[in-house]
């Protein structure tokens, strides 16, 4: 049996107000317009934030190094540092010029920080709306599924272009307004070429997340995007010091585009073209997968956790049960990084020992510690990056905690004979314990790597524990804000402090801000625990932030309205 041709008739509506062009582009006139409207503030905010950093770095460098001789000395010093000290910023290319320095110290880290935004935005663009339940209504309108996906993705591409455009304008203005030496001023085409690279670098991990989101859901896509971003970044940053990474570094998009820094004077369009091609393929794959597959929230692929009664004993165990799989994954991910680094120490030390000037410089920088040990190497190569990743993990756990209230589960829980204060203390404590689980897995991995080198694993285990305490302190701040004000702020505040304090410390150190100001950054109170340099007062402060945050959270939850 087959159906006959189209039947029935369409009832024409009455007076229709067609959406204006403005509403279609920036408003409720289309999926594209609504997506732009929803994210316009954060887009401009992110652009302005980094524009400010570029201006500050550029103006200070121009003022402090106002002669060619000073610039050359500065550049020689930085370029003499082995890769391990240059760490996450990559090779110092053309840093004697204003553009080169801004590129190295300012813009090279943008793909990491804003790459996270890209992952969150594109993993959630379709899969997030599907999980919330609003996508069914949108998909039942006369809008083809493919077009719906294209409009959502296109909106993000435009938003990202605005953010990068603002950074580009600031870069162009800074390099031209503060140009004091020959070579400082950067032409507009070089800035545009640089921003094209920056745009693709930010977009790439998000495109990877988009491509897998129809298969693994929003959570899985976030994980895949994060692995693509951080694994590529770390492999590229430490390829010269870690032999395992060197073997695979060509697969890292951070590495194969290293030669394209137009504002520093080097161009590599073929590499950028390769990145553009892969990014485009991933975006198309994500759109096609969305258009062709069932609109279902993927059920499988989650990290398996034994179904035991422990997870339903009360608010604490439920909270921990919710976050336990993620805690293991975060620990394993970060732990693998630490394990590889720890297992590479001997090779690194052997290489470094061949350069007496560097050994001498290290001794000057760290007179009270044996930096050429496994622990010392981990302090430099692992701990500083671990601070950022632990901040992300803390924000993820706090976000999960906040969802109990924002998704209205809390109202059901509080209908049981459980006081608000008790719920808040127990559920918030589960966040801290989840971070402890991550830390324990991480410590086991790193200590194992240290033991493989024949060194004492205890100091590194202690060092990792302090990293965990730092994560708990960030979570404490987020929980306090979530409890006192509203849950929707908890994760963004945790993330902002985690990443913001890193940037604050980075910029402040470059610009030689006074110590009392720099000390506002929490990670400056961690000491150098991997090499036994422990800041006891700092640790007390971090502990107080963690515990105090939970208590403040509980007070806040007890007194304010629930469900805001």
């Amino acid at each position: 049996m087959t159906a006959a041709g189209a039947v029935g008739r369409r009832t024409e509506p009455g007076e229709l107000e067609r959406p204006s062009s403005l509403k279609r582009v920036l408003g409720l006139g289309s999926v594209f317009g609504k997506s732009i409207r929803d994210a316009r503030r954060i887009t401009i905010g992110l652009g302005l934030l980094y524009a400010l950093i570029v201006v500050v770095i550029g103006s200070q460098i121009a003022a402090d190094f106002d002669t060619a001789a000073k610039r050359q000395v500065m550049a020689t010093q930085f370029q003499a540092l082995p890769a391990i000290f240059q760490g996450m910023l990559g090779p110092a290319i053309g840093i004697e010029t204003l553009g080169g320095f801004i590129s190295w110290r300012g813009l090279n880290f943008v793909p990491v920080i804003y790459g996270i935004w890209s992952i969150v935005a594109l993993a959630g663009a379709l899969a997030g709306e599907l999980a919330r339940g609003s996508l069914d209504v949108v998909a039942s309108t006369p809008l083809a599924r493919r077009r719906l996906a294209v409009e959502k993705v296109l909106a993000y591409l435009v938003l990202l272009a605005v953010t990068v455009g603002i950074i580009g304008l600031a870069t162009f203005a800074t390099t031209n307004l503060f140009a004091t030496l020959p070579g400082d001023a950067v032409a507009v085409d070089a800035v545009a070429a640089h921003m094209a690279w920056l745009y693709l670098m930010i977009l790439f991990p998000g495109a990877a997340a988009l491509a897998v989101a129809p298969f693994v859901g929003r959570g899985g896509a976030l994980g895949v995007g994060a692995v693509v971003l951080f694994a590529s970044f770390i492999v590229s940053a430490y390829a010269e010091t870690v032999p395992v990474f060197e073997a695979i570094r060509d697969a890292s998009y951070f590495h194969f585009t290293t030669g394209h820094r137009p504002i520093a004077g080097t161009w590599d369009w073929p590499a950028v073209g390769r990145l553009a091609l892969v990014t485009g393929v991933l975006l198309v794959a994500g759109i096609e997968a969305f258009a062709r597959r069932d609109l279902l929230v993927p059920g499988g692929g989650r990290f398996p956790v034994p179904r035991i009664r422990l997870w339903v004993m009360g608010p604490f165990s439920r909270g921990l049960g919710e976050r336990f799989p993620a805690a293991l994954v975060w620990g394993a991910f970060l732990g693998l990084f630490g394990l590889v680094l720890a297992a590479s120490v001997d090779e690194f030390v052997a290489q470094l020992s061949k350069i007496p000037q560097v050994v001498e410089m290290i001794a000057r920088l760290f007179p009270d510690a044996d930096i050429l040990s496994t622990a010392g190497f981990l302090q430099l190569a692992f701990f500083e990056d671990g601070v950022i990743i632990m901040g992300l993990a803390a924000a993820a756990f706090v976000g999960g905690w906040a969802s109990d209230e924002s998704e209205r589960r809390l109202e059901v829980v509080l209908a049981a004979p459980i006081g608000r204060f008790a719920w808040a203390v127990r559920s918030a404590a589960s966040v801290l314990v989840a971070i402890a689980v991550t830390t324990a897995v991480l410590a086991a991995a790193v200590a194992g790597g240290t033991a493989l080198q024949g060194d004492d694993p205890l100091p590194t285990a202690i060092g990792v524990s302090i990293l965990g305490l730092y994560g708990m302190s960030l979570a404490g701040i987020g929980l306090a804000v979530g409890g006192l004000i509203r849950p929707g702020l908890a994760a963004p505040v945790t993330l902002a402090i985690g990443l913001g304090s890193y940037l604050f410390n980075l910029v402040g150190t470059i610009l030689e801000w006074p110590a009392p100001i720099l000390d506002l950054a929490p990670q400056r109170h961690l000491g150098r625990p991997m090499i036994g340099d422990i800041d006891e007062i700092g640790l007390l402060l971090l502990g107080a932030l963690a515990v105090g945050g939970v208590i403040l959270c509980a007070f806040g939850v007890r007194r304010r309205d629930i469900g805001r």
């Binding site: 041709g5 029935g8 006139g29 609003s134 069914d136 209504v137």
Partner: protein, 301 residues
């Protein structure tokens, strides 16, 4: 007249889990069709296939004569859909939400939407996240109704609505039917289906077990019959009538269930000293519960 909705051996499996199995349906133009079944029976799966939100494992579905997977946009242009479980955009107000979905359909009929908002008693100035469950449902209903679609596909449309608003919704539905439009309503609120629907399908464990008019379904179910006589009566002749069951004798009163025509019972009773006769028609709810309670349903073709 060709059907508005037609499915043929429509089957959907979710891995090892059952979805629906060989569902055959026809919804006629101008008809309000009820789709009854308990939670998890396959109602929403069927609807989502009709809308091409998911695709069948086997079988076919046509809406307006168009295969659901071949041109879903053409189908969507003429339908209004309310999902059973949904959430919209927390930060948009009711007005903004309604306008957004109108815009996705080509334009906003402000006057008609306004009338719907007024009739349903919705305050459209509040943000979606501030609405109660019932008010969220009203927003969803306005979004589904505001473009006067040829076919309404409504999954649990009155969930969360108070009785007054339910009545208003029924009025709107009757008006749509009077204008020749069709509706496919999934529900497990049987009284609502009984009031509003012309025909009903009952789905059970992913299969259609009954499909007919409300009246016919009632006819198929047992009537409760009570006969009071002036003198004691022998129940045996009544027991011998086809369709009579559960016969109980209480003094001069006989109570029984009669499936099928009641006339043979009436004729036999009239031959005796019949004082009073009471026959109660079964409700759709009893039909439904009988289907699920006796577990005797077999799929219909």
């Amino acid at each position: 007249m060709p059907p508005i909705i037609q499915t043929e051996r429509l089957t959907k499996r979710y891995g090892i889990h059952r979805g629906i199995t060989e569902v055959d349906l026809e919804v006629r133009e101008g008809e309000v069709f009820g789709f009854l079944g308990p939670n998890g029976a396959g109602k929403t799966t069927t609807i989502r296939i009709l809308l091409d939100l998911i695709r069948p494992t086997s079988g076919m579905a046509w809406v307006f004569g168009i295969a659901s997977s071949s041109d879903p946009v053409a189908i969507h242009r003429r339908i209004g859909y309310l999902p059973g479980e949904f959430t919209l955009y927390d930060r948009l107000t009711g007005t903004e939400t309604i306008e957004y979905f109108a815009n996705l359909r080509g334009g906003f009929d402000r006057a008609y939407s306004g009338r719907l908002v007024e009739r349903l008693g919705l305050d459209p100035s509040r943000r979606f996240r501030e609405y109660s469950k019932g008010n969220k449902q009203k927003v969803g209903l306005v979004c589904a109704l505001q473009h006067r679609p040829d076919l309404l596909i409504l999954d649990e449309p009155t969930a969360g609505l108070d009785p007054l608003v339910q009545q208003t919704f029924n009025e709107i539905l009757f008006e749509a039917k009077a204008e020749g439009r069709s509706a496919f309503i999934s529900s497990h609120i049987i009284s609502e289906v009984e009031r509003t629907c012309d025909r009903v399908a009952i789905i059970r464990d992913g299969q259609i077990v009954r499909l007919d008019t409300v009246e016919a379904l009632r006819e198929m179910a047992a009537h409760e019959v009570e006969l009071r006589f002036g003198e004691p009566v022998d129940p045996a002749p009544f027991e011998a009538i086809a369709g009579v069951s559960n016969l109980v004798v209480e003094g001069r009163t006989l109570r029984m269930l009669v499936t099928g025509p009641v006339a043979p019972v009436v004729r036999l009773a009239a031959a005796g000293d019949l004082v009073d006769f009471v026959s109660r028609e079964p409700s759709l709810e009893e039909v439904f519960l009988a289907e699920y309670g006796t577990a005797s349903g077999s799929p219909v073709r």
